[in-house]
Symmetry: C2
Amino acid sequence: MIDWDDFRNFLAIARHGTLSAAARSLKVRQSTIGRRLSAFEARLGVLLLQKTPRGFVLTPAGDVAFAEAEKMEAAAMAADRAITGRDVRLEGEIRLTTVETLAAELLTPILARFADKYPGITVKLITGTETLSLASREADLSVRLARPSGGDFVIRKLGDVGFGLYASASYLAEHSANTPDGARHRVIQMAGESAAFPEMVALTRRFPDGDIALRSDSRYVQLAACKADMGIACLAHYLTANTGLVCLADCEADREVWLVQHRDTHHMPRLKVLSAALSTGLRLGTGR
Amino acid sequence: MIDWDDFRNFLAIARHGTLSAAARSLKVRQSTIGRRLSAFEARLGVLLLQKTPRGFVLTPAGDVAFAEAEKMEAAAMAADRAITGRDVRLEGEIRLTTVETLAAELLTPILARFADKYPGITVKLITGTETLSLASREADLSVRLARPSGGDFVIRKLGDVGFGLYASASYLAEHSANTPDGARHRVIQMAGESAAFPEMVALTRRFPDGDIALRSDSRYVQLAACKADMGIACLAHYLTANTGLVCLADCEADREVWLVQHRDTHHMPRLKVLSAALSTGLRLGTGR
DNA sequence: AAATCGTTATGCATTTTTGCATGGGGAAGA
DNA sequence: TCTTCCCCATGCAAAAATGCATAACGATTT
């Protein structure tokens, strides 16, 4: 019979479109992926992926193989979750993902106390913009700024985060006097897709004619820019405490904070205790 | 992530109970299987199979892994069928399985003509007692002596096979005179589970007190024994033509002959033409 | 048009996996 | 009790897979 792992390689290529991208996702070399695909197709006697200028694209035969390979993947991930979900030790690693500011400002102190209480458990705090998959066990717990929809998840609301429009005192001294309200202000924005976040949309609505002083996906860069008198930033209240920045207005676009994990790992003791610690440790309000 | 092929190894061990048996089924060495299982469990950090005096048995964690691995297998087999089922060439190999006597006496002449007509197609005629799996593509077509139940098969009735109770003239000369009917006759039987075949049950019912002269699962051995005056055998009528054996009675336990293939490969041209050749070439009646 | 970036193919060295052979440990049978 | 058979573990050699380096190709930009 055919090596099941060849289906995984095939799936990766079909998803990413190129051998190189698939190789990166599987943490092997491009040459490996390419040779395995060739061997796989040779054994089947069928071409599954056709090389085009834009990368690899599925043939009709590849289409049906793709659908079945996805079923294999679902079963493999379920098995992985089910097996590791049986781990009842209060030891080992927990991978927790969330956004950088929440991690640094609010989660770190909680995790410090948690580490004292459970020395056997190591928390790996992963921050980043891309959402890691709980289904494929890239992470165990996730603190997200939106209510997750769909999927086989167990969710728990941790609170709300309120945002405000902030500027430095010296920026305001220079601008508020000689400009009519809302015009000719300079704003600090997100870059790319993140500009569609509710609070950032509120910022744009409030200052539709404002110049963009700076774009950055990093809240810390935005905060620093704001402190450096570059303009008005939309920042979470918890982030601006003790910075001396002036809050011009509330954003009225609160974001809910949710703790998410997969149902298959829900009963794992070490996840339960961390979940509880986060739930009781995080005292979040809108900040108003 | 985990090598998907490790799930296949695990599945084989769980099914066969020993490393050696699993290794045989996968056509690798026992040492390979054993080392892969060890590595697999080490990576998962969980014991899936426990070694007992009677072989390997699933742990609770192994149970859930087993269920998911079976789903992976089903998807893998479906993919294999779907892919190879797209083969539209009137060339290549067809694996046809059936029982030995049918193959030798009735199928071979049909296949001889078929080979002339389609020189590009090679038929591999596999005979044996164990039923090969069409679902896992161990075979493409199967001629069976019973109507298959369940499964995703396309079936077609080819006819009926009638059986009779046969004996040699010299055996009868010696026995029918000095024994009352049905008593003290010597019968030739199947061995093991095959004794439960309808026609063999009929044989036993007819001669409940008969001595067992010989047991064999081979119809050809039974035929030879019958010719050698060893006793009464239950044989298909088509097998006894021109042998000089005397038919004492019909068995009244006809067996239906069915041609079976998997739905996914049903439209394959080369299977279609062989199916048609078998259907028109086999002129089967009960022989009465 | 040239340059740059990202891609795939291929030869070669290295690493990893597998096969093979052997030894030890039970269980069934003589 | 002593074979005999089948099982698993392990060292070592052979084979296979992988990584690495490089070359060729195409698209996009300067």
